[in-house]
Structures are given as C-alpha cells and as structure tokens.
C-alpha cells in the first residue's frame, strides 16, 4: 500500500483524497468488526478443545495401558501380528463449513467400535485382552478425530485473524496516515496560494493607487 506524497495541490485532488480516506476508513471499520467476530469464533473453538482434549488424552492413556497388558499376556509378536491382520479400513467423513469465508473441517465419525469378528484378526488370536486393547484404542481414536477437527479449526481461524490484523494495521498505520498527510499538504499549499494571491492583489491595488 505504498503511496508517494507527490500530489498536485488542487481542489480536485483534495476531493479525491478525501474520498480515498473515506473508503480506507470504511475498510478499517469493517475489518475491525471481522477481527472481533474472529475472536469470538476462536474462543468458542478453544472452549471445545478444552473440553475434548482431557477426555481424549485420558482415553489414549487407558488404551496404552491395555495394550501393555496385551503385550505381556498375549505376547508382543502375537499382538503385532494381530494388528497387521485386522481390517484396517476405518473411514472418517470430512466436509467443510464456513466461518466468514474460512473453510473449517466438519468431521462425521461413524461407529468406530467393532466387535472381535469384524476386527478380523484370525480367530486363533481371539483373546479378551486383545479385544479390550482394540476397543480402547477405537474409543480413543473416535475422541481424537473430534479433537483434530477442533484444533484444525482453531489454527484456521487464527491464520485468518493474523491476515486480517495485518490488513487492519496497514490501513491504520500506513495508508490512512499517508492520505491524511497528503490532505494536510494540499490544504497548506492551497492556503499558501491563496495568501500569495491575496498579497499580489494588494500589491496591484497599491500600484494602481500610486498611479492615480
């Protein structure tokens, strides 16, 4: 938004500059409203994160404990083998919703928990300890998917906020002051020119009077 101060000191230019200040001011006011709205949105998502995160992390640590148990009882190799044999086709449905032009993810998770049969690790592997570990990781995954939606939304809103803030700052600290500076400059020049005119007229008048 660089602008040189090289302006012609005319009434026409003054009018144009005043219109530009008006536009810049309008842009500033609106973007400021947008920033406020983004702050509201940001804190709403933050609240959800604060609710979702502890639950998800707690479930994850429960799941890890169940897995350690499984390693100990079923065996590390056997558990790893089961994790390779199980059906691994869990799907998440991701669409978008829009907050003031920011695309934020909207995630839909179907039923994540499965029964031993659907999990599909061969029946020779069937063990309640293994099932327990799987179930707990399925639950953790469901909660983490939701958390991912909220965290990504928060990042997206924060990025838009930063962008908007940069624009607001450019208007507030660069463009608007420069335009106002240019207006002041023209007004001073116009004033000067008027004074010069005035004194020239006075001189002419004096000359005419002398001649009489």
């Amino acid at each position: 938004m660089a602008m040189a101060l090289a302006v012609a000191p005319t009434r026409m230019e003054l009018l144009k500059l005043r219109q530009r200040v008006g536009l810049a001011q309008k842009g500033y006011d609106l973007l400021k409203e947008k920033m406020d709205a983004l702050v509201i949105e940001f804190f709403e998502v933050l609240k959800r994160i604060q609710e979702a995160r502890p639950k998800a992390l707690e479930q994850l640590s429960v799941a890890h404990r169940a897995l350690s148990m499984c390693f100990a009882i079923v065996g590390t190799l056997e558990t790893k083998q089961a994790s390779k044999e199980t059906k691994r086709e869990l799907q998440v449905d991701v669409s978008t919703r829009h907050i003031m032009g920011i695309a934020v993810p909207a995630v839909e998770v179907g039923e994540v928990e499965r029964n031993a049969l659907i999990r599909g690790y061969g029946l020779h592997m069937t063990s309640s300890v293994l099932d327990e570990a799987s179930k707990k990781f399925e639950r953790a995954l469901k909660l983490l998917i939701e958390l991912a939606e909220f965290e990504e939304s928060a990042f997206a809103i924060a990025r838009e906020f930063e962008k908007t803030k940069r624009r607001v700052n450019a208007l507030e600290y660069i463009l608007i002051p420069r335009l106002k500076e240019a207006i002041k400059f023209i007004m001073m020049r116009l004033d000067e020119m008027e004074r010069e005119n005035f004194s020239r007229l006075k001189r002419i008048k004096a000359m005419l009077e002398e001649r009489e």
Binding site: L90, V107, F137, E138
Partner: protein, 112 residues
C-alpha cells in the same frame, strides 16, 4: 467424502491404532524415511487424518511446521502423546493465542 487414517510414531502407538482400524502406519526410525512418508501421506488425496506423536513432530521441528503451513485443509493433523504421555512444554495453541490474539483477550473479557 470419506477418508482413511494414517499414524506415525513409535511401535506401541502404531500397533494400538492399527488395531483400531487405521489404514496406514509408519514407525519412525530414520529421519529421511519418515519425512518422505509424511510427504506421501500429506499429498495422498485419500487420507483425512494423520496422527503423529509429539515426540516425532518435535524432532522434525521446523520441517514439520513448514509442512503444516503448506498443506491444505486435508489431511487433518493431530499431535498426540505416546505411551509415556510425552507432550512438549509449550503448547502449540497457547503459542498461537499469545502471538495472534494476545491483546484481544482483554477485549473479550471486558465484553463478558
């Protein structure tokens, strides 16, 4: 649209999430290899969520943050603790709050 899930981390983490139905997994050992895998996950159109342990994400530091910045909406990326519960001291969200919204928090508090 439906998408698949990928997990990057240590043996325990990927075993657990594989049991839960995650399609793609990668155990982090060598830096270059994991970086290539991550790029592959990010570029693949069929992955909707990448889970990565904080420990690995932190090890990749700048490179990882750069990848996050340049990716689109998808895949969603979430950093998670590993078995030991490891999380970095400085929370990524807190950092963002301080950097961007910082001063505005006061405005909001007054408003409420």
């Amino acid at each position: 649209m439906s998408y698949k899930i990928a997990v990057v981390g240590d043996q325990d983490t990927i075993t657990g999430f594989a049991l839960a139905g995650a399609t793609y997994t990668h155990i982090h050992t060598a830096r270059e290899e994991t970086l290539a895998k991550l790029n592959e996950f990010f570029a693949s159109g069929e992955i909707g969520l990448v889970l990565i342990t904080h420990r690995v994400a932190e090890e990749f530091g700048f490179d990882f943050r750069q990848m996050l910045r340049t990716k689109g909406l998808l895949p969603l990326v979430l950093r998670i603790p590993d078995k030991t519960g490891y999380m970095p001291k400085v929370d990524e969200l807190r950092k963002i709050i301080r950097r961007t919204v910082g001063a505005e928090i006061m405005v909001k508090k007054e408003g409420l």
